[in-house]
Amino acid sequence: MAQGSSKAGAKSRERDVFSGTPTPSSTKRSGRRVYMVAGGVTKFAKAHPDMDFRLMCKKAFDKARSEVPNLRMDDIDGTRISYFSDHFSRQLKAASMVQDFLGLNPRGSVRIEWGGATGGECFQAAWEAVASGRMDTCLAVGYETMSRVQTWKGNEFIALASDVNYDFPLGGFYTGYYALMVTRHIYEYVRKTKFANIKDEREAQRKATEYASRVMAMVSVKNHRNALNNPYAQYPKNLTLDAVLNSEMVSYPITREDICTMSDGAAATILCTEEKAKELTDNPILVKGVGCGTDTMRLADRPFGKVLLMPHEKASDYADLQYPGVHSFRAGRAASIEAYRHAGIENPNKELSFVELHDAYASSEIQTYEDMGLCRYGEGYSFVERGDPFLKGVDYGFPVPKAGTTPVNPSGGLIACGHPVGATGLMQAVIAYWQLQHTIGKNFGSEKLQIPNAKRGAIHSHAGTGSSVTVSILERVRP
């Protein structure tokens, strides 16, 4: 029972429905160390009329190749190719056409699709190919061409990634689903705490939502303004809090400027063994950890159980919390736990130099801080207000006292970079790679977004209403 008012519900909570939930295990993991040695992206744009999906992938691949001049085509043992929806390209088996266009036949290849996390999964599939010993060098390349349909038809395609029996016909619309999730998040973590003293339920919830909307607007301003110095971003904007709050309401309480857009774009990464990496570059980046988690396709099926804990948390921190419910992403938590354990990270907030996470909505960025353990559950809003996820040296138009503590989405994230689904997770890998190489200046034409002394970063790719999530940890090798 959602609010615990029935005997049956109380009884079933005593029986821990999570007893059967496997804690993500990675301690058994063996395999070869895998390095990223090159990355490339096209600019993300509303449309690229001069490039179809094959040429976009070629441009991203060639940009990556330009970073490793010693790499010969013969060195590439195979590929993993990602795109989300056949509907957008109206071409089945499109990954074969990418493989073909890049001139990589007859090497092994497979198409990766995993909803919004398609790019992140593709990166990890390439990691697996190398770690397992199947390949020494693997190309991961992904794209999406969302401009091929009208925006609202595109929203319909995306909404088909919800249960077509029970969810889609109600008004299938992902912004609506995320609005449902954040409304409950606000109820759990703002109404019940900050506004607990207000008796009138409607008034208390309205005030809680007003407060939370302002914090979401801070996230939107952060990402849009960060992107002003990212030449690959689709929607850099010098936004103000008022501009976000006054932009059109799409699904209460999420406004137009809280949402990422449809995009065309491609991204490519080249992963290889240590031996190969030494031949190709003097500045390789180690893929130190990978994690993946899942949850029910339907939001309505999520249990109300116990939090999956990280090493820096205690069960008593969340004694009264029913988790994940519809307010948190258990898949993101599971993916983070697996990736952190693999990478030997105990306190992510202290051990990560930056995070590039899947902010399809400003609301889900706040929810994801908590899932990734950057702050505790319930502290996402104050984490923003304190300024932790902001960059030092960027003017946001409001005070950010703790800026630079754990920069999140220094690139501008999905909200400002765009979200060509099959490319997005790979774009995060490329930008994290440049951050850790300390080559943001060279690649962006400005040092403004370079995290000083970046040592370790996390990338987070997220699908559906949180039905699958990947987290990968990248680490600088050079001193």
Binding site: M1, A2, Q3, S5, S6, A8, G9, S12, R15, V17, G20, K46, A47, P49, D50, S147, Q150, W152, K153, N155, E156, I158, A159, V164, N165, Y166, D167, P169, L170, G171, G172, F173, T175, G176, Y177, A179, L180, M181, T183, R184, Y187, R191, E201, R202, Q205, M249, V250, S251, Y252, P253, I254, R298, L299, A300, D301, R302, P303, F304, V326, H327
Partner: protein, 202 residues
């Protein structure tokens, strides 16, 4: 499924009208450097040219695609047949003592078959939103309210539409009653919720 450009061409009203094409009287395609104008022109002419910054011509065509699916509810059928009878059916796993308000025919915890049970026709708002936009199929219905409903005695919840009230009226915890379509369409929208009598302050 249709062939490329057939929507306009086959209708005989645009480019191929009266065999003018054969006589060399082809209609000039729209040439533009604005993507929105390409979209508009495709709706009218079935083809258009986007001229990029380098002056290169990029040819676009309208390419329709329609499908009628032979969709089966299969093991979920009892739920949708129940809606037509004014029943809201969930499922229950006796082993786990867990009641699903959105039916799952097999328990997600133990994997055993769950049995069909009737849910109460009253519930409460667990979460909600008002959609002012929607995907193409639902744009004409905006604004509409989505609601996640919790039920006494059920462990999971149900996504539905909330009618009979506006954005200003709704709050988490608001009591609700289920309503059913008089003429079923055999869709999840055959059931929806409205505020319980007295729940909306006027």
């Amino acid at each position: 499924m249709s062939t490329p450009g057939s929507a306009k061409g086959a209708s005989g009203t645009k480019n191929n009208e009266g065999g003018k094409g054969k006589m060399g009287g082809k209609k000039e395609l729209k040439r533009t450097s604005k993507f929105t104008e390409v979209q508009e022109a495709l709706g009218k002419d079935g083809a258009a040219i986007f001229v990029d910054k380098k002056g290169t011509q990029n040819l676009y065509i309208d390419y329709p695609y329609h499908v009628n699916y032979i969709h089966s509810y299969a093991q979920d059928s009892p739920f949708f047949l129940g809606l037509a009878e004014g029943r809201l059916r969930g499922t229950r796993c006796e082993g786990c003592k867990y009641t699903y308000a959105t039916p799952r025919t097999y328990c997600q915890f133990c994997g055993e078959e769950a049995k069909w049970v009737d849910l109460p026709l009253v519930g409460k708002v667990h979460s909600w939103t008002t959609c002012h936009y929607g995907s193409e199929a639902f744009l004409k219905e905006t604004p509409y309210n989505l609601v996640i409903v919790e039920f006494e005695g059920a462990n999971s919840v149900l996504l539905s539409r909330l009618k009979g009230c506006t954005e200003q009226d709704i709050y988490v915890g608001m009591p609700l009653v289920a309503k059913f379509a008089a003429e079923p369409k055999y869709l999840i929208t055959d059931v929806w919720f409205e505020p319980a009598p007295g729940a909306v302050k006027r």
